[in-house]
Symmetry: C2
Subunit: 233 residues, 2 copies
């Protein structure tokens, strides 16, 4: 599947921001310069900047130019991690174990990931909160989009930082579907609970800046001392 | 606890909107008129309008006046009901049973509800989705704020419509805390499942336009054919 031209421009700007070549607050080249440098029309350059602005990556100031938004990626990414203490306090998860494998995509994965990848990386991690193994997480991404991911272990706590800094892939939305399940032998062993313990099963699809699904993830979570917290408006 | 003066103005305007006296799109009286009618200062009237605007109830147009926002309350209230079919489709719950009781507030309820009520109404309902009893819900509100609530049974599907139309109480935010639990005898019977079936336990605190907690609710939900769905950004 050929990427549209505006994606090429977006990828380039996102990569420049990720690499630090473009710092927060700094001014981007003009539409005309961007068009010339990337070989697209000025209209395409404008469309790219508008999409980046819509997603809060840049902001355009009338008569002044386009600027990189100042962001604190790590904290904003924590919006995606909803397990909290009863009092609402955030806890940073610690890695207990991690296995990254390259395997054939299942039919549903292939259909449900952008680019319909034949192969995927499966990232299987156990994460602990306050010393208690609390989350058994299985994330799946396209092997062709995230080339060499298995060489980067141990992966950072927040995978989205890795996706952004090394693959120019900015996650802006995640849809979650939550159900209650019973721990089976494998999850019980990983989370140090008895089989039949109730767990939250959180199925997530994460979308990049273009709104394409780039990661599918299932997290099995103990909720005896934590809860999934969210505010609805 | 005496309500602040701006709350008096807000209550009056919200009641006028709820009753249909002020229709969506219609113009509100001027700050000066509002002040005169409600016996507050013009500054207090202005503050009330600003708060109503912040919450999307009215919009102010420079040099023209203040207008009631056109809203579809029922659909917007469905933002608070997150149980969906696997494909994301919304299902309207049907009432299976309902018991409303007036009782002493538990210490935590008293502390956790605006006005520290001595007595509360407890609304206990079983709701079904597609003919399957799916949610056992226990909501608690102040008996002094929601006077005569027990006389209004059967209550409407969406309690927040009742709160708004009969008590001038607009719910704008709900914080939810979700865990996995096992069905006990009572919830198993209500939901027609075996004891030990995994259920979602959703603890909610709902806040009014002033940001005060006005309802506490626990929902036990079957998730064998449904899931709690939410989008994070």
């Amino acid at each position: 599947m050929a990427a549209p031209l505006y994606q090429k421009v977006i990828d380039r700007i996102v990569a420049q921001i990720s690499s630090g070549e473009l710092l927060p607050g700094s001014m981007l080249p003009s539409e005309m310069q961007i068009a010339a440098e990337t070989g697209v029309s000025q209209g395409t350059a404008r469309k790219s900047l508008m999409m980046l602005e819509q997603h809060g990556i840049v902001r355009r100031e009338q008569g002044r130019g386009t600027f990189v938004t100042a962001r604190t990626p790590d904290s904003s990414l924590f919006n995606f991690f909803r397990l909290r203490q009863p009092d609402g306090q955030m806890i940073r998860p610690e890695l207990v174990s991690e296995v990254v494998t390259n395997r054939r995509a299942l039919a549903a994965e292939r259909k449900g990931l952008d680019g319909e990848p034949k192969n995927v990386y499966e990232i299987r991690r156990v994460r602990s909160l306050k010393g208690v193994p609390s989350v058994l997480e299985t994330a799946v991404v396209s092997a062709s989009r995230f080339v060499g991911l298995d060489q980067r272990a141990p992966l950072p706590n927040t995978l989205y930082v890795l996706y952004q800094q090394n693959y120019g892939c900015i996650i802006l939305r995640a849809d979650e579907s939550i159900s209650a399940v019973l721990a089976d032998g494998e999850s019980a062993a990983a989370l140090n609970v008895g089989t039949g313990t109730p767990l939250l099963c959180v199925d997530r699809v994460a979308f990049d800046i273009m709104g394409h699904p780039v990661e599918r993830r299932r997290s099995l979570c103990r909720t005896d001392s934590l809860a999934y917290q969210v505010s609805l408006t």
